[in-house]
């Protein structure tokens, strides 16, 4: 028995089934995608090899770059508006003495709802004549805003809805980190005369930086692959104003049967996502020191 376990090939035998599955469901499709990205495959007739033709086309495709820009808006909105709000709400909820569980559940609720339901629900709230927002604005004599059908407002409307859906999930993450901080640290600061605000900014926030860093990274990754909320609420419209990379890719591949081009786009999306996450890791995440209490 001991002899067997010393043989490295035995271990290989143990991982073989997993490697097989991994290869079949991950490696093989990736290689296949890479190949189809180099063809003009339309899923109906034989694919012809066209080299980097699809990628060249993608670089000249203005609509694709508009969708990339929209994804960047998602990232900026997530990192600079959503994350600070997440921290703020987490700090507020961690400070309440009563009904903390209720608040936690309430903020978490949207993230367990299906995106389709959220899309339809917010669609009603944004409705030009019967929607909540316009009703509210009309009390102040403000003209109705065509939230989802005006190219100026549509993306913002989706950003808000998307933020509402996912903030609760991150708040619970950050909240767990805050509650894990030993009470003594805050108590010591309080004895030293630090105000609530000072304690939040100087004690709590630095201590939860590793979790915030993860939240930022998850937000970036989430913003890169966002598509469902867009498809449900506007399907990329009005006039392409809310098109994101993934919805553009789905449309090209499915609606027009340009599977070769669609695959090439998906490879580019992957590359862009990889690049951004790598940049974030190198520039910000590595600087984080390990927090030890």
């Amino acid at each position: 028995m001991n002899k067997t376990l010393r043989n490295p090939y035995v271990y290989l035998l143990f991982v073989l089934p997993t490697i097989g599955l991994y290869g079949l469901f991950f490696i093989y499709p990736v290689i296949q995608s890479a190949y189809y990205g180099l063809t003009d495959w339309n899923a109906l007739t034989t694919a012809n090899f066209i080299g980097f033709g699809n990628f060249e086309r993608a670089f000249q495709d203005d609509d694709f770059w508009i969708s990339v820009k929209n994804n960047m808006f998602f990232i900026l909105f997530s990192v600079f508006l959503q994350v600070p709000l997440i921290i703020l709400f987490s700090l507020l909820i961690s400070g309440v003495k009563r009904l903390q569980g209720f608040y936690k559940t309430t903020v978490f609720m949207p993230s367990i709802l299906s995106t389709s339901i959220i899309g339809i629900l917010w669609g009603f709230m944004y409705h030009p004549s019967i929607g909540f927002f316009n009703k509210f604005l009309s009390w102040f004599g403000i003209e109705p805003i065509y939230w989802l059908s005006d190219t100026k407002w549509a993306l913002l409307s989706i950003l808000i809805t998307n933020a509402w859906q996912w903030m609760g999930f991150y708040i619970v993450l950050v909240l767990a980190a805050i509650l894990a901080i030993p009470k003594e640290i805050n108590e010591a600061a309080e004895i030293d005369g630090a105000t609530g605000f000072q304690r939040a900014v100087r004690i709590t926030t630095p201590l939860i930086m590793p979790v915030i860093s993860i939240v930022v990274m998850l937000s970036i990754a989430g913003a890169m692959r966002v598509v469902d909320i867009v498809l449900v609420m506007t399907n990329g419209g009005p006039a392409g104003a809310t098109e994101v990379m993934a919805s553009y890719m789905v449309n090209k591949a499915m609606k027009y049967g340009e599977y070769g081009y669609g695959t090439a786009l998906s490879i580019m999306i992957f590359a862009i996502a990889l690049l951004l996450t790598a940049i974030y890791q190198i520039v910000f995440a590595r600087r984080q020191e390990r927090v030890e209490y």
Partner: protein
């Protein structure tokens, strides 16, 4: 307690799987009782005449007749399915209702790519859809079936479903596109039914001045405003423009086409369409008109049944009129021409066995008959796609009467671009129309972009 719960759950799961298996056995035979009783029968003659046990088989049928707006068409489909099931022993049509544009742009293309389309499905003709699938050998060649049923010459036009002289799809009906108007709203505002483009525009202006939206429009899906643009182009550039652009003999950059786009842009800028149209879907557009919020609606003649006493828009019963797009001063070609489409119907998967083929044959025989063509027309305002005895095509419906009168007065007909051009060109058309609505394009830029897409397609064909 936990253990007890686990045991209960396990037994329920086991029991249900056993029962499901039993159910499955029953389902595979159409008449198990008949087959079981046959050997027990005493009289030999009786046993010989008893129906033999027939293997039950499913035939998947994808249709788009969903919701209140399509209820008449769904009733016809149900009847046809019932008849066909009775005629073909063992056939069980499995109806799968999918929303039109989702079926057209997402589900069916994906199924075609994966090689598993339903056996019978709703499809649009033209190079972007039906003909593309036919060329890829995904569709059943219907020519022998039509010959056998003797209905080959009964169809008025199957050209958008034809490839190399063979027919791969059958149009369910035909339609024209024109103006529906709310008689009450027009009367209340002292507007006579417009006879010329100038009168029509004057009507828009009057309504706008009184705070009424002139035209109901839901441009969330671009095919909806495309209907109006298609007709505008034909009025300005002549009824042969669609075919000309498709075969490369004419260009969308011709000044007449630009003028048509310019007119459309002018109407957008003057605010003649529903506000926020890019966020309104097709149903929303119909609802705007039914609610009496708008006076005009540019739509297909299939919409006529909506205003019947049983239709969704019954509140407007007897209060809706119809007229073809008026003549344009200086417009090229026949100004009485109307749009006429026979581009939507059923096609069938090429991957079928003999049983399924028999079911398909029965389905075609039953659906494509004079009876249903006439009923489709009377109940639902669908114009016939087959040669039907003209004396039977009378309608008591006031809107349909006007449709018929308008079409009878037409010198010629013109098709829709989407039945003649390839997918990417159609896509560019739709994109440019929406961009025009959003103020992100102009007529010249729009036609150049579409023509460029068409040039690319034509070059690829050479």
């Amino acid at each position: 307690m936990k253990k007890k719960l686990l045991t209960t759950v396990a037994s329920v799961v086991m029991l249900s799987s056993v029962l499901t298996a039993c159910g499955g056995n029953n389902k595979n035979e159409a008449s198990p009782s008949a087959s079981a009783s046959t050997p027990a029968s005493n009289s030999p003659s009786e046993s010989a005449s008893a129906p033999a046990s027939v293997e039950r088989f499913d035939v998947s049928l994808r249709h788009i007749q969903i919701g209140e707006l399509q209820k008449f068409r769904k009733a016809i489909l149900d009847e046809v399915v019932k008849k066909s099931e009775e005629e073909v022993p063992g056939a069980n049509f499995e109806l799968d209702a999918v929303e039109d544009s989702f079926n057209r742009w997402t589900k069916l293309p994906a199924e075609m790519a994966a090689g598993n389309p339903p056996k019978i499905f709703d499809v649009f003709g033209g190079p972007a859809e039906g003909q593309k699938y036919a060329r890829a050998n995904k569709l059943l060649d219907l020519t022998p079936i039509l010959d056998e049923l003797g209905i080959k010459d009964k169809f008025t036009d199957t050209s958008t479903f034809n490839v190399d002289g063979k027919t791969y799809g059958l149009p369910l009906g035909a339609s024209s596109e024109g103006w529906f108007y709310n008689k009450e709203l027009l009367e209340a505002n002292g507007i006579a039914v417009p006879k010329t483009l100038e009168e029509l525009e004057a009507a828009f202006e009057t309504l706008k001045g009184k705070g009424i939206t002139p035209i109901a429009m839901g441009s969330q899906a671009a095919w909806v405003p495309f209907m109006l643009v298609n007709t505008l182009i034909a009025r300005y550039a002549g009824p042969d423009i669609q075919a000309g652009v498709a075969n490369g003999t004419r260009k969308l950059t011709e000044p007449e086409v630009v003028a048509a786009f310019a007119k459309y842009e002018e109407w957008i800028k003057k605010g003649y369409f529903t506000k926020g149209e890019l966020g309104i879907d097709y149903t929303g557009q119909t609802n705007e008109f039914i609610a009496g919020k708008t006076a005009f609606l540019f739509d297909g003649t299939w919409r006529a049944s909506t205003f019947s006493p049983e239709g969704v828009g019954k509140s407007l019963n007897g209060k809706v009129g119809y007229f073809a797009f008026p003549a344009v001063t200086g417009g090229k070609g026949d100004q009485t021409a109307v749009n006429y489409n026979q581009n939507n119907g059923y096609a069938f998967s090429s991957d079928v066995n003999d049983n399924e083929k028999a079911a398909i044959k029965a389905f075609i025989k039953n659906l494509y008959s004079e009876e249903y063509q006439v009923r489709g027309f009377k109940e639902d305002g669908v114009l016939p796609s087959m040669k039907v005895d003209a004396s039977k095509l009378t309608s008591e419906d006031p809107v349909m009467k006007e449709v018929l009168a308008n079409n009878a007065a037409a010198g010629t007909v013109f098709p829709h671009f989407d039945s003649l051009v390839a997918g990417p060109v159609n896509g560019e058309f739709e994109k440019q129309i929406q961009n025009l609505i959003a103020g992100k394009s102009n007529p010249q830029k729009a036609v150049e972009a579409i023509q460029q897409a068409q040039d690319k397609e034509l070059a690829a064909l050479k």
